[in-house]
Symmetry: C2
Subunit: 387 residues, 2 copies
């Protein structure tokens, strides 16, 4: 990697799957890794102690620039010494650029080649986001890994629109590379191109050729954006199959906003190192629990008298101490404790998947792991189900 | 006390205030004690580990019979091995009789001398509560201390209505004393009588004279009910001043549903041993925090950039790790984590008050503690403010 303090070291390969260490100024991340989403300065429902304690043991979390910019706002984050100190999280944070949330609210945002005017969904106040402004905000947040501002078209976008998005994303990526970042803050580029493999390759080539103010300043990592945005899942898998392993091998590869446990395993098998998704946290709150035996819908009457745990193979506190019947009761009664316990479980499950994948890669048993996982109920149960 | 497995031992007296140990089959309670309210099988927002860990260290919690009877219902509680096992709480639980909640919903309950017909506020289903049924439900819940079914009139009830409530409460208390309880379950009587000291004394005499199937079976403790139900606070204090120390000295004295930090200190000074109230938990969720320097309304703009803790004198995790500005942000963003951290703090504060009171009694400095506390902002700020 380029930015001082970061070092990415692939240590094991098994097919295209790989295990690596990503050292950062705030600690070491073992990949493949899943990043819990901490939208508004908190992974909803959990304390930082719960996030770091085994077996969950999240190595890195994600923060949403758009949400944090609006609330609590940069003045507050600055007064509290940055996002890490504000939320008492000492491990790495990756921030998105803010673009994805803003562009998805079409009725209150107006995109142009230079950036985007938008209104706050909270109070209607007017703001402008540009590549430089996104990097400036992320510098104030003080994340460890910043993302370039990209233009992410919907999954059913016309080819011409995808071309515009790619060109903009390239131009904006260059501007981000030239914008001043916080000390010790890495920057990842985002590859667009929809479900067209040739577009993906072409965009990756464009991004890979970019340099910053010094020719040595390049991107620290590469992300695949614009996937799992409404396109059929088999098409996403085709893109992953063709492109993931073509992202620079000496840099982390990040599949943005993805996905189901199956998506994680498919992605890792194609060479992806990093993932994030709201699915484990949001689904937890909505009553959907991930388990080694498939999906559990906690409201189901079948669990009413069930004294067993959510997942007998799970070591999280929820599964060690509480029954399905109790969790169902807490869910029905809309008790806060339900959301906590369910989130703790789902994130433990997700981190468990990437940890099992990593162990399989290291032990040279990836093929069997991937085959068994994709044939098992824990994969099948969520096929096609998106957050 | 009467029930095997229980032993109440006053160890220190300072004026009318006293420190004692209440040994139960599920562990020892040091009094004066405050009991966090776990309405629906959970102290809202907290795990049992958080409740038992110092500095909070709750020795006993309260469960609401009415709520648990309706949801999850006795079939579920039974299937999970009782309330303790259901919620993974291993320390003592006191359950109320269910009457207070039911009678307070006048439009869906109909009271008579034998008991009360009522409809569920959840699904409109019809039920009947009698003294025997209340004890039967509490036996199924498996609480360590059950309460008699009492008739609690409102704070502005007419004298004739209070007389009816007292007569009913006495008759029901006798029936409760004769009803079969769970093994190792104690039973407390409830003294009514409104704000009339002579009525309170007369009712206490009636209850104290009751015996169960054997002449040796009497009540294990005595509670003052029907206070903090709308009457002026000075009148409540007059009742406490006259009656609290007349409750049998060799049994625990419990002031039900009370109150502010000031109420706790006033009650302890008059000889009360046990308290419960939703105030610390409910106010936490509503943005009101108790501190050694008085009330903090977390939404106030004054806290927007404040990097300091809620209470610099508090050892709870919330105060050790998080700033007022961050908590204000979480409150504004309606984040679950806010309710957790605020509840943890408020309960730590409440348990701290009774612990400080106990230490003052033991060290023979009660008078000074009481005087200083009642003159301090932590008392003043909540004067007259009820949950």
């Amino acid at each position: 990697m380029i930015t001082p303090g970061f070092r990415f070291t692939p240590t094991h390969h098994d097919g295209r799957a790989r295990a690596a260490t990503l050292e950062t100024p705030r600690g070491r991340i073992e990949t493949p890794i899943f990043m819990p989403v901490g939208t508004a300065g908190t992974v909803k429902g959990l304390t930082v102690d719960e996030l770091t304690a085994p077996p969950l043991d999240a190595h890195i979390i994600l923060g949403n620039t758009y949400h944090l910019f609006l609330r609590p706002g940069l003045e507050v984050v600055r007064a509290l010494g940055g996002l890490h100190r504000m939320m008492a999280w000492q491990r790495p944070i990756l921030t998105d650029s803010g673009g994805f949330q803003i562009f998805s609210m079409k009725e209150i945002s107006k995109l142009d080649d230079d950036g985007c005017d938008f209104r706050s969904h909270l109070d209607g106040s007017r703001h402008r986001l540009t590549p430089e402004r996104s990097i400036e905000i992320q510098a104030t947040l003080g994340s460890d890994i910043a993302m370039v501002l990209d233009h992410c078209p919907p999954g059913d976008a016309a080819p011409a629109d995808i071309d515009v998005a790619m060109a903009r994303t390239t131009a904006w990526a260059r501007r981000c590379l030239h914008a001043p970042r916080a000390p010790g803050q890495a920057l990842f580029a985002i590859v667009q191109g929809g479900t067209s493999i040739s577009r993906r390759r072409s965009h990756l080539a464009d991004l890979g050729a970019l340099t910053g103010p010094e020719t040595s300043s390049q991107f620290d990592g590469f992300a695949l954006g614009g996937l799992s945005v409404g396109e059929p899942i088999p098409q996403m898998y085709e893109v992953l199959d063709a492109v993931a392993a073509e992202l620079p091998a000496e840099r982390p590869r990040y599949l943005m906003g993805v996905g189901t446990p199956q998506d994680l395993v498919v992605g890792i098998g194609r060479g992806i190192d990093m993932f994030d998704c709201v699915m484990p946290t949001r689904n937890a709150r909505n009553g959907q629990l991930f388990t080694s035996q498939g999906r559990v819908v906690i409201a189901n009457a079948a669990h009413r008298l069930d004294p067993g745990p959510i997942d007998p193979n799970c070591a999280c506190e929820t599964c060690q101490r509480y029954s399905r019947a109790y969790l169902r009761h807490l869910f029905q009664a809309k008790e806060i404790l339900y959301s906590r316990l369910a989130t703790l479980h789902n994130l433990t499950y997700y981190l468990g998947v990437v940890r099992r994948a990593r162990a399989a890669i290291i032990s040279g048993t990836w093929d069997r792991f991937e085959r068994d996982f994709l044939a098992s109920p824990e994969s099948e149960a969520h096929r096609g189900q998106r957050s």
